[in-house]
């Protein structure tokens, strides 16, 4: 499938509105994740910070303000550390964020850097106690003689305050760099994957974890592949998948044995490293991303992918230079829409791609501050392969900016709202039709 050549392109026949663009600090966003309802969106950055955005409730007076995401809370999740035993610096960069299913009025999320996973509680407080016995509200000590009766503090309403507190720290279980975390459908366990091993944790227990996959060879010189991503099945608590740098996917069943080094299914064919793997919401399909393509696999068919989508095939001729500038190692992520009918993944030059699985149409869109004013419709972009016929507005492959890459994207679990991280900017785009309908 090539580039869409329609003049008025678009997916589902309507464009995406740039809803807003949010500039955090001059730091690069390293992960983006919606919570299970889509009301909250969390980003992590290279500075170890997590920023949570909350969707504003609908407002009758300003029809366009509905559904906007505004900053809800910002906190420092990880700090830079130094491993004295190995003389290694441990970066504070947030590699992954995963929300826990909501269990009470508070929200919980897991965030991880290369080594340590943390569980955070995000809660609201709208009351505070007032009234001391021995001092007044300004903190001045009262004269002891004036204290003639006991006073119990009373709770008074106050401005809403969002509190974030660390609940658990899951440390010292990973020798290599953690690349994925995934919460199990049983709501009580999660797994964390590093380059060579996958560990299973109980959310309440921090001092022990179980190793469920170990691909470390006895001799490190025999090392031929590393784990690149891992995820639990959305419904079956016993199934999980992990991808490797050899381009394989392994589907494992935890029921069969405690150590899942015998995978039950093996998806082969590919030659290049899989940078991300995601189960569809239905649990039937797997979406993977390698350097040039995105693929959809059916869990029941190991031999070959069901669908293959070219993300930026025009780069095939430029692989040598992409290797030289290290771009070939970029880890692009991928995402499903709520109904599993459209997939999305990032590319270079602040472009991102969407593929409609039913109509087989695809679109290239650009997330940039210049081209996307609030409430403007995104214009589809087209890259003209080297030597191809160039039309107006087309961009030549040679003029693509390889420093502007969209690695991290997220799709609202039910609605057509997407979050795109372009270096230090977060763009949230919303489906036009969607906003008109409500």
């Amino acid at each position: 499938m090539g580039e869409d050549t329609d003049a008025t392109p678009t997916l589902n026949h309507h464009g995406f509105l740039p809803d807003h663009n949010y500039v955090t600090e001059a730091d690069i966003i390293s992960t983006v994740e919606f919570n299970h309802t889509g009301e909250l969106l969390a980003t992590g950055d290279k500075g170890g910070r997590v920023v949570i955005f909350q969707r504003e409730p609908e407002s009758k007076t300003e029809p366009f303000s509905q559904g906007e995401y505004n900053v809800y809370s910002t906190f420092q999740s990880h700090e830079p550390e130094f491993d004295y035993l190995k003389s290694l610096e441990i970066e504070e960069k947030i590699n992954k964020i995963r929300w826990l299913p909501q269990q009470n009025a508070a929200q919980f999320l897991l965030s991880t850097n290369d080594k340590t996973i943390k569980l955070w509680k995000v809660s609201e407080r709208d009351k505070r106690p007032e009234g001391y016995n021995l001092k007044d509200e300004e903190g001045r000590i009262k004269d002891i003689c004036t204290v003639t009766s006991l006073q119990v503090p009373v709770l008074k309403p106050m401005d809403l305050m969002v509190e974030v507190s660390p609940r658990r720290v899951f440390a010292n279980a990973h020798t290599y760099h953690v690349n994925s975390i995934s919460v199990n459908s049983d709501y009580e366990t999660y797994m964390s994957a590093d380059d060579l091993r996958i560990n299973l944790w109980h959310l309440d227990i921090t001092d022990r974890s179980f190793n469920i996959v170990d691909i470390k060879p006895a001799n490190m010189e025999d090392l031929t592949e590393v784990i690149t991503a891992a995820e639990f099945h959305p419904h079956h608590c016993n199934l999980f998948v992990y991808s490797s740098s050899k381009g394989t996917l392994r589907l494992c069943d935890m029921r069969e044995a405690a150590l899942c080094d015998k995978h039950s299914k093996f998806f082969s064919e590919i030659i290049s490293s899989v940078s991300d793997v995601k189960f569809s919401h239905s649990g039937r399909y797997l979406l993977t991303r390698d350097y040039l393509t995105a693929k959809v696999w059916d869990l029941n068919m190991e031999s070959k992918p069901l669908e293959t989508y070219q993300v930026h095939d025009y780069l095939r001729s430029k692989l040598c230079s992409l290797y030289e500038n290290d771009c070939i190692f970029d880890k692009f992520e991928c995402a499903w829409n709520g109904s599993d009918s459209v997939i999305m993944t990032g590319a270079y030059n602040n472009f991102f791609r969407m593929f409609d699985r039913n109509t087989k149409r695809d679109v290239t869109l650009e997330a940039s501050r210049e081209s996307s004013k609030p409430r403007a419709v995104l214009k589809p972009r087209r890259v003209c392969a080297a030597g191809g016929k160039r039309r107006k507005d087309d961009i030549s492959v040679d003029s693509l900016d390889f420093t502007k890459k969209i690695l991290h994207t997220a799709w609202h679990p039910t609605e057509n709202i997407i979050a795109i991280a372009a270096t230090n900017n977060l763009y949230i785009f919303q489906d036009k039709l969607n906003s008109e309908m409500h």
Partner: protein
């Protein structure tokens, strides 16, 4: 108007109340722990109207504070005015029962269960039962999980209409959307079944049990196994076959090893619950399968139960069942590929000898024991050695001693010091069973060799071992076999070994008695006060302090005191310090 006196007595309480909201968690915690003092000072009226409403909203605090609060409120009945007002405690406990931290919720539920007993039947229906319902239909699963633990305490004490409602709520929670709630319901199923009328057990509980036992989540199914034990004990024998066994059979063959593990782990309880007939027909084959399971974790759990399972078999054909069905599986496990399985088996296998008697033990079990004594994994050998007493009673240890000795020697010289440490700890036991002759002949040298081990923990354990041996074999034995060797080490060129002499003397002096201590040990200790290594010298001072109470006062004055005084003016600071300490403890100043 309160006078100056009133202020004085108010002050400590005022501080406690203010510290309920101090920045420092420790201070808040202290205040919460003294909540009863605060309540007492406020009186029942103000406790109900001011303190409890404040506490109800204090759920933002740290877990440890909330945990303490949940616990306190369980004992608060008198402080709010007795059983008549106990329902005032429900709101704060209700909010604690919805927090995310499991330990806090569990404690709140525990306190709620406790105070439910203090409610009158009327209050229970007017106040307590509505709370259970609110929790059970709460938006968040934390509250619904908490509700699961409360049904069984109110059910027996409410009217039949309310009972029907409670059963309905429980049914709903058993099919809740979230696995968390279904797990909570599954884990309380057995408890709830116990308070239900038998007819409802059969009509309601069995269907819930069957549903939970075939839940899509492994973690729910495995909890149903536990409920199976309680339910089986409630039902008459004739109903077990139709109502429980299909589910139990299914669990024993579950696709998930975690569920099978749970069956193996609960096997003895299940066996007792279903009775001898079903055990013979169903559980024996099931147990065989678990012993042969493809997952090592399951085999290990089953192996752990071998002895208990065999013990509880009906006596009339116990031997036959064990010999034809269980023993063949056990034989296979002896050479299992997984060391956890082997060591689990080794920890119980000796117990079979008492069940099977002398002849069978010699013919069938002895070869297995001998094989395990030669196992490559030290833990297996240790487990066999640590359980020798069972065999000793049946066939006498002599049968084993030929193989035992090489096994012990090998463990004693194992490269891992933790293995050596473990075998040292069994030495006194072995010595007792093997007798003094065998010990002197074969094991004594080992015990002495450990004294010069290069790991301190081993030397320390060896010292302690000597003391236990002396307690067992007596002072005379010590004088002839141990003391000369220990004292000989005082001249060792390695100062660590010289110190070991002192440590041994510390340990042995009391067991050996005054005479040996004064005549043989003391001269050596005193001589070592001239050692060139300061560490040895200050240990001399410590030893003298230790053995002082065993010596008579004359010896203390004429022999110990001059040496300690000399050490007290030593050039080394530590030697001085310990010498002075000894002088003051022994009151020689």
């Amino acid at each position: 108007m309160a006078g100056a006196d009133g202020d004085d007595s108010l002050y400590p309480i005022a501080v406690l109340i203010d510290e309920l909201r101090n920045e420092d968690v420790q201070l808040r915690l202290n205040s919460i722990k003294k909540l009863s003092t605060i309540a007492l000072a406020l009186g029942v009226e103000r406790t109900r109207t001011e303190l409890l409403p404040f506490l109800t909203d204090t759920i933002y605090d740290e877990d440890e504070v909330l945990l303490a609060l949940a616990e306190q409120l369980g004992n608060f009945t008198m402080l709010v005015g007795g059983p008549e007002y106990v329902h005032c405690l429900l709101p704060p406990l209700e909010s604690l029962a919805t927090v995310e931290e499991t330990v806090v919720r569990d404690k709140a539920v525990e306190s709620l269960r406790k105070i439910s007993q203090e409610h009158s039947p009327v209050d229970l229906e007017v106040h307590f039962e509505p709370l259970v319902k609110r929790l059970a239909s709460g938006d968040w699963f934390t509250s619904r999980t908490s509700a699961c633990g409360l049904f069984s305490v109110c059910y027996p004490r409410v009217s039949s209409t309310v009972k029907a409602e409670i059963r309905q709520h429980f049914r709903t929670l058993c099919s809740d959307d979230t696995p968390m709630v279904r797990r909570a319901a599954a884990s309380k199923l057995g408890e709830f079944a116990k308070v239900l009328e038998l007819d409802y057990v059969k009509s309601d509980i069995i269907s819930l049990f069957t549903a939970l036992a075939s839940d899509e989540q492994d973690s729910v199914r495995l909890l149903a196994v536990e409920a199976c034990v309680s339910i089986a004990t409630l039902l008459p024998q004739e109903d077990l076959e139709t109502l429980v066994m299909p589910t139990l059979r299914q669990a024993a063959e579950d696709k998930s090893w975690r569920v099978r593990y749970m069956v193996a782990d609960k096997f003895s309880e299940l066996q007792k619950a279903v009775g001898p007939e079903i055990t013979k027909n169903d559980l024996v084959p099931a147990f065989q399968n678990l012993l042969k399971d493809c997952e090592a974790e399951v085999r290990a759990a089953a192996a752990n139960k071998v002895k208990e399972f065999c013990e509880n078999l009906p006596e009339d054909n116990r031997e036959q069942i064990i010999m034809t069905h269980i023993l063949p599986c056990v034989k296979e496990l002896v050479s299992d590929t997984n060391q956890h399985v082997k060591s689990a088996l080794a920890s119980v296998i000796m117990g079979l000898s008492t069940i099977l008697g002398k002849d069978n033990t010699i013919e069938h079990l002895l070869p297995l024991f001998l094989a395990q004594l030669k196992d490559e994994c030290p833990e297996v050998r240790l487990n066999i050695i640590s359980n020798l007493d069972c065999v000793n009673e049946v066939i006498g240890i002599r049968q084993l001693s030929q193989s035992l000795l090489p096994a012990i020697v090998e463990l004693a010289e194992d490269a891992k010091w933790r293995v050596r440490l473990a075998i040292i700890e069994y030495m006194p036991l072995l010595a007792g069973q093997l007798g003094v002759e065998f010990f002197d002949e074969k094991l004594n040298t080992l015990c002495m060799a450990w004294l010069i081990d290069h790991v301190y923990a081993i030397r320390e354990a060896a010292t302690c071992n000597l003391m236990k041996l002396v307690e067992k074999f007596g002072a005379e034995w010590a004088q002839n076999t141990i003391v000369p060797k220990v004292l000989g080490m005082a001249n060792d060129p390695n100062y660590l070994h010289r110190m070991t002499t002192l440590f041994c003397i510390n340990a042995l002096s009391e067991a050996c008695g005054q005479e040996i201590t004064t005549k043989q040990m003391l001269p050596v200790v005193l001589k070592m006060s001239n050692d060139q290594v300061a560490n040895v010298r200050f240990n001399v001072a410590k030893s003298l302090q230790k053995i002082g109470p065993v010596l008579d006062s004359n010896t203390l004055q004429t022999e110990v005191k001059p040496v300690l005084e000399k050490l007290a003016s030593d050039s080394d600071m530590d030697v001085k310090y310990f010498a002075q300490e000894a002088i003051s403890v022994l009151a020689l100043a």
